[in-house]
Point group: C2
Amino acid sequence: MTLEQVSANRSFGGTQGVYTHVSAVTGTPMTFSVFVPDHAPGDRLPVLWYLSGLTCTHANVTEKGEFRRACAEAGIIFVAPDTSPRGDDVPDDDGYDFGKGAGFYVNATQAPWATHFHMRDYIEQELPEVVAANFPVDMARQGITGHSMGGHGALTIALRNPGRFRSTSAFAPIVSPLNCPWGEKALTGYLGEDQTAWAEYDACALIAGGARLPDLLVDQGEGDNFLEGQLKTHLLVEACAAAGQPVTIRMQPGYDHSYYFISTFMAEHVAWHAERLKA
Amino acid sequence: MTLEQVSANRSFGGTQGVYTHVSAVTGTPMTFSVFVPDHAPGDRLPVLWYLSGLTCTHANVTEKGEFRRACAEAGIIFVAPDTSPRGDDVPDDDGYDFGKGAGFYVNATQAPWATHFHMRDYIEQELPEVVAANFPVDMARQGITGHSMGGHGALTIALRNPGRFRSTSAFAPIVSPLNCPWGEKALTGYLGEDQTAWAEYDACALIAGGARLPDLLVDQGEGDNFLEGQLKTHLLVEACAAAGQPVTIRMQPGYDHSYYFISTFMAEHVAWHAERLKA
């Protein structure tokens, strides 16, 4: 597996890189970014995975996420994957919320999506192997976070892989694809009409089914356009309360769904992860 | 003069706004961004002007500059103008370094540029009036900074307006348009072949001619592609040394010309300005 470096920029006392590789899982080239703080030779650093939201690539958080100062100070490697396979051979949809840029971190089972849209396996299996083989990460100390669709990805991947992540957080996550138009469209398309196949991709359903995390931090803007119709944070509040899942959900007055919101609370998330990754 | 709000996003305990107005000076609509930290009713805050580099609009630093945390903590308003007039009526050049996105903060005297390219008057006169009339700024406490072409703008505007700015800094500035290809092309186009008209737009020439600042902070990446051929930081070092102009020039190993460099040192620049603006 050959990793190609697209760019490398010195930033905040570390190196912000962008890399591509040919993914066996998606059958396409995949691009991701990695920030590596300066460290002593031989050191292996904790790693924080950041999964992005609809329409995003690795670039959005890399340019606008304001994570580097906090990661450099904490000595944490930050990895930001793309949100779907890309390329002329990859099917797409006219909407921004399905197809390219909208992989929903599932393994698609329905044609024509099943050929390339294996973002679950890519994020859970292939990319961690690539990162472990090429960067000075300590895979015993992983945290995961994400935004919106990527918050959904972070929560469901952490819930399905108990013990893999020492820390989990999310910014404005989709908490229940079973119960929102974005989820209904995407999961119908990728997984088919039978909603029993959806439950493993629904954080609230996973929690109700007994999956647990040590704890969980969520920030959600009260001024977020998508709060009422898509994100439905209250469903996560209720699912955690019913199941006894520890969670800290912070409603942030006035904040919207943008990177102006994410960047504001990024350093606090990095600190929250650092506390658990370096304990 | 009517100011139209394009957007407003809550961020870092303040409001990041984008605004447009019809400029009498350029004869075009002009767009700029303003970050206003939360503050007590009636308070007037110091203002830091940030002038952008070639190809940029207000958006680059607004999205990637990582200034909001530092400005919110220091209670400083941050204003980022565009780099040229825009619009179908505005002449342009095929190069990225002349015409739209490349106003060089001059008042053009040559056709066809002289009709709209009055960025000096826009930044020195009109925009400050617009900002003073519409935002809670204390115009007795102004600082100015900028990047590359905008660093050139910050230095020359501060040097030509003694006493207006309590603090001046720059990221990777063009220090002498008289002595670099970018400057030669743009100033020939905007001002004509007679280089005597250029001197008031050349920081090194202004310092050699007796203009002074209380002090000056410059960060320059040693890995900057443009350092040798265009920026020529050593000319500023020599001009300041010859004239006795106090200056702190920090050469930053490995850093390039990008916002990965700017964002790294932005908080230190804001702190440097804050120390002088709040003294």
